[in-house]
């Protein structure tokens, strides 16, 4: 994807929000190191925001988005020099709440599943398997990863109702770190 993008834009820097989320001074340093006296029309920072963020109740921008905007403002670089790739449709609304001038808004691609390999699309090892309904042994499957409230609620419901013979379940519990 980067090779494709470079045909159309000049990538000034790449911003991995998961990495800088813990310390926005890292972003500040990066921006100061790469800031141009005059940005050309095709100059852009690329930001990836694929890992979910913390939203305060009833707030349409996350703390990460807030910090991103404020850091760009602090080093006096317009957010319109930034392209954000994310998988959260509607993400631009949070930015609009923070940036009054629409000309200052970044370009946001908010429905990208394939960019930057987060979803491992295009894997050649995938097979076109058959539906094979006659092989079905269980109603359902659920693979619950790290304990979160919604996964705990589902797991506890499965356990309480003893659905294990109907729903093949895996759950990474508190005893597994």
């Amino acid at each position: 994807m980067i090779v494709v993008l470079e045909q159309y834009i000049n990538i000034v820097g790449r911003i991995n929000l998961l990495e800088i989320d813990q310390d926005f001074d890292l972003l500040k340093t990066q921006l100061l190191d790469t800031k141009k006296p005059i940005f050309e029309t095709i100059d852009f920072y690329l930001a990836e925001d694929y890992h979910g963020n913390y939203y305060l109740p009833h707030c349409n921008y996350s703390l990460t988005t807030f910090n991103l905007v404020r850091t760009f403002q602090e080093v006096d670089i317009s957010l319109n020099r930034c392209i954000i790739f994310t998988n959260q449709p509607g993400y631009i609304n949070g930015l609009k709440s923070l940036i009054a001038d629409t000309k200052e808004l970044p370009i946001v691609f908010d429905d990208c599943w394939s960019v930057f390999g987060n979803n491992n699309l295009g894997n050649p090892a995938w097979q076109d398997i058959g539906i094979n309904a006659h092989e079905i042994e269980r109603h359902a499957l659920t693979m619950l990863g790290a304990p979160r409230l919604h996964r705990n609620a589902l797991y506890n419901h499965i356990q309480k109702n003893n659905y294990f013979d109907k729903i093949a379940t895996s759950y990474r519990g508190i005893n597994e770190g």
Partner: protein
């Protein structure tokens, strides 16, 4: 210019959505059904084994628990890809309107066999209640009903698989189209 940055939070997720502890959400010790092999939910090691496993052939519905649940926007990760690639029906335990979002990507879902009303319910507690009720209903069906439904939705399952296969190409064209106008 005065700016104020928030310090990082202890968690990336605001999980304060279970009013008065009405739902049992305490974490438990781990559990793994013998049917499930390999690295289920191997988020950091995602590879072909995590998406396409033999055991998928033995189940009818994938109850996908996405990373985000109480969230202001639809949100998807690699988790929803599993049933799409493995041609299985699915329920999505995730942020509201996420089914609506994936339909905009060309994927199809399983209404009316699966009641997908839950996707429209914004309140997380109410959404979880409706999801659990739908799971209760589905697991009480005879297993033959699940098999028949898979056959009934065969076209949808095949279509979803092809949509995944074409997704990178479609998204790349869309991005290029917009950037070429800069």
């Amino acid at each position: 210019m005065k700016v104020r940055l928030y310090t990082n939070t202890k968690t990336r997720w605001n999980e304060n959505w279970n009013p008065y502890g009405k739902l049992e959400t305490r974490p438990q010790n781990g559990y793994k059904d013998s049917l499930i092999t390999g690295k289920p939910n191997g988020h950091y090691e995602s590879g072909p084994d995590d998406f396409q496993q033999e055991f998928y052939k033995k189940i009818g519905i994938d109850i996908v628990t996405e990373t985000a649940f109480h969230y202001p926007y639809p949100s998807t990760t690699e988790k929803i890809l599993r049933p799409l690639i493995n041609k299985r029906m699915f329920l999505l335990v995730g942020a509201p309107h996420t089914l609506e979002f994936i339909k905009t990507k060309g994927f199809k879902t399983f209404q009316p066999f699966i009641d997908e009303t839950y996707d429209t319910i914004v309140d997380p507690f109410d959404r979880m209640q409706v999801l659990l009720q739908e799971i209760d209903r589905l697991v009480k069906l005879p297993i033959d009903s699940i098999r028949k439904a898979l056959l009934q939705y065969a076209d949808v399952l095949e279509s979803n698989f092809q949509t995944v296969m074409n997704l990178e190409s479609v998204e790349t064209k869309k991005i290029v189209k917009r950037l070429s106008n800069i």
